[in-house]
């Protein structure tokens, strides 16, 4: 082994890998190992970046349905033929082996790392970032090439374990085929995903939705009538703001108090006592009173006492609304007490789905509780932020993803696979490795 000094360096990590191959066969002679695999994945990445650069950073063009289906079909045929009929071929042996797998995973990891470090779809990205595809990794050439390489490697490896079938390989098949199905369907299904947005007003019926991606209005095969939009809010929070800079001095949430059952708190050395809390209020002169008309904002009468008890300030604080101005309580030259807009607790739309056949289905649409109709999933996404709880508009999204059942099949296979991994742990070595 090398010297102590050498051992301390990072070299020690790579040394065994290189050493292992040092006196073996020359590169590109069969059977291929790690060197060849990493050459190939680097080649794929380089060609990908070159293609992307040459295309001016526009990314992979959108394929037509036909060419996409042909590509997907060819890929599946290639994987099955290779994995079942040519599995003993030296090239296919390499393609379904661990060195190729590790190189493919490394390639994808590299692309994911780039994605993890670069802001995606950032309009202000520098030109070279865009031209290399780094601002839109998932639709870039190097990502596509490494994904296809991974699909081929993973697919052949899985095919080899499926035929001939052995119960010993069930865990392996669930994990590998499951992952393959997920990646395959997510990749080829990506262009088929439709996402449309609809804004609908209370009491009105709407059947057109907007497709942001293609910038067109789409007529839905059903209409939506919004009967009622409901927004429930938490009690508002109080905070302290710097009078000069206007910055909120929240110190990671420490100087924020929820106007709840709590009657007092301490922020930046000031004791804050809540004297009166009006959930909805109006203002007459200097004072606030209970009022529930549209746009009535919450208000709090608070007392702020300084640390040495020498200063006491009493006054009203309100976050205001689209209809009322806000009010801050100045507690000294530097600081003021303010109220934040209440956070939404829950919002939902009571809608009727009307079909041309004359059917009416009543649905309560809520975040995390989508509805389904005619192959579309319907989501509650938003409302008129300006009006907040008085919003009479609901923003609804329609999603259609024809490949979703395949993705789910893959996901549930992987969940089952994770269970087998958990039960059998390290001992579950598949055959034929």
């Amino acid at each position: 082994m090398g010297s102590y000094y050498k051992n301390l360096s990072l070299w020690a990590f790579f040394y065994p890998m290189i050493q292992q191959k040092k006196y073996d066969n020359p590169i590109w002679s069969n059977p291929w190992g790690y060197r060849e695999s990493f050459f190939i994945v680097s080649g794929l990445l380089l060609s990908g970046f070159a293609l992307e650069w040459a295309s001016g950073g526009t990314g992979v063009p959108e394929f037509t349905n036909l060419s996409l289906n042909i590509a997907a079909g060819l890929l599946v045929i290639f994987i099955f033929t290779a994995g079942i009929f040519f599995r003993k071929q030296v090239f296919i042996l390499w393609l379904s082996g661990i060195p190729a797998a590790i190189s493919a995973v490394t390639g994808i990891t590299f692309m994911a790392l780039l994605m993890g470090l670069t802001m995606q779809h950032d309009g202000s990205a520098p030109g070279w970032v865009v031209q290399l595809g780094l601002s839109h990794v998932t639709s870039s050439w190097p990502y596509l090439l490494t994904s296809v390489y991974l699909l081929v490697v993973l697919g052949i490896a899985a095919a080899k374990r499926i035929i001939p079938f052995s119960t010993k390989n069930i865990g392996y098949i669930l994990n590998h085929l499951g992952l393959w199905i997920v990646i395959f369907s997510a990749t080829f299904g990506a262009t088929k995903v439709e996402r449309l947005e609809m804004k609908v007003k209370e009491g009105e019926i709407e059947w057109q939705a907007f497709d942001k991606k293609n910038d067109v209005w789409v007529e839905m095969p059903f209409a939506i009538r919004l009967n009622d939009f409901v927004l429930e809010q938490y009690a508002p929070k109080l905070g302290i703001v710097d009078n000069i800079t206007g910055m909120i001095l929240h110190e990671n949430g420490k100087n924020v108090m929820l106007v709840d059952s709590v009657a007092s708190g301490n922020m930046l050395g000031w004791d804050i006592r809540l004297l009166t809390y009006l959930e909805q209020s109006g203002k007459a002169g200097e004072a606030y009173y209970l009022n529930n008309e549209t746009g009535a904002a919450p208000a709090v009468k608070a007392e702020a006492i300084s640390e040495n008890k020498s200063d006491t300030v009493v006054g009203w604080v309100s976050c205001g609304s689209f209809n009322h101005s806000y009010e801050a309580l100045k507690i000294n030259d530097q600081l003021s007490l303010i109220m934040f807009y209440p956070e939404p607790k829950k919002f939902l739309s009571k809608i009727d789905i009307l079909t041309p056949e004359g059917e009416t289905t009543a649905v309560e649409l809520e975040v995390n509780k989508p509805a389904k109709v005619k192959g579309w999933e319907i989501y509650q996404v938003g409302y008129d932020d300006q009006l907040g709880r008085w919003s009479d508009t609901s923003v609804i999204e329609f999603v259609r993803d024809p490949w979703l059942p395949f993705v789910y099949t893959g996901i549930f296979m992987m969940i089952a696979g994770a269970m087998t991994l958990f039960w059998s742990g390290r001992n579950n070595t598949p055959t034929d490795l």
């Binding site: 994911a112 993890g116 509780k369």
Partner: protein, 268 residues
């Protein structure tokens, strides 16, 4: 406010853990060792009580902020340490996991959070609890495996001893179970994302880093299958994997690419 008496609970827990750990490590007689374990379990129960109480007071699962996930981490590490100790008799491992758990509790003591009751609608889902619990449990297992790796590397480079099969066998057990849970956490997240945002995977920076974490452990497992004898590779990959995991857990909050992520623990 609702931060209430966390210091009392935390100090009692740390006290139970450290005294129990010392009794178990130093004690000569079997009785003292067993009493030590009992004290560790008592400390664990105090923390459990606190978590339950917090959950009830907040009226929401206490899993929203970084500090809250640290609490769960401190909760799971000793459990893993105790099970590993009972099953494989690794004393040092129990000590390490308890120290790490104390460290995380201490961190929460030094930087107390103001627990907020508010929970954004997107997080109000039956998926919230399983998603976070499965993930943090997996993180705790994988952290434990990296402790094993660090021990192995230190032995290799500074004590001139080979890390030995035993060390890696323990790491393997932890990684395999941890990876199974990591996979579940990732997939639960995907299923939840479909319910909440209409798509199962959007390459949100947290998702990207979760994917990276998953894949590095995937590489470890494959290297172990194929090159079981290359123990140094395995140790290094395990160390590297934990760095990626930490970026995913904490680091994402500070990455410019994550400015718009829904997973950046709320800062209000």
């Amino acid at each position: 406010m609702t931060w209430i008496n966390f210091p009392t609970y935390a100090l009692l827990t740390i006290l139970g853990w450290t005294i129990g750990m010392l009794m178990n490590a130093i004690g000569k007689s079997n009785l003292v060792k067993q009493l030590g374990i009992a004290l560790v379990i008592a400390g664990q129960l105090v923390l459990t009580l606190f978590l339950l109480k917090l959950w009830m007071i907040l009226d929401r699962p206490p899993m929203r902020t970084l500090g809250e996930t640290r609490l769960w981490y401190s909760f799971f590490l000793p459990i893993i340490g105790l099970i590993t100790y009972q099953r494989w008799k690794y004393q040092w491992f129990l000590v390490y996991s308890l120290l790490l758990a104390c460290l995380f509790l201490g961190f929460n003591l030094a930087y107390p959070e103001n627990y907020s009751k508010t929970l954004m609608p997107a997080l109000q889902s039956p998926w919230f609890v399983p998603h976070v619990i499965v993930y943090i449990f997996s993180y705790a297992l994988l952290a434990a495996s990296s402790l094993v790796a660090i021990k192995g590397l230190v032995f290799h480079y500074f004590k001139g001893r080979e890390s030995g099969h035993q060390t890696l066998a323990l790491a393997d057990n932890l990684v395999f179970i941890g990876f199974a849970f990591l996979t579940l956490g990732l997939l639960f997240g995907a299923l939840w994302a479909k319910e909440a945002w209409g798509h199962y995977w959007t390459w949100d920076p947290k998702e990207t880093w979760a994917f990276l974490t998953w894949i590095v452990y995937l590489v470890y497992i494959h290297i172990r299958y194929q090159h079981g004898q290359k123990e140094l590779w395995a140790l290094w990959i395990l160390g590297l994997a934990f760095v990626v995991l930490l970026v995913c857990w904490f680091g994402v909050n500070y990455l410019p690419s994550a400015a718009n992520s829904v997973h950046v623990y709320t800062r209000d």
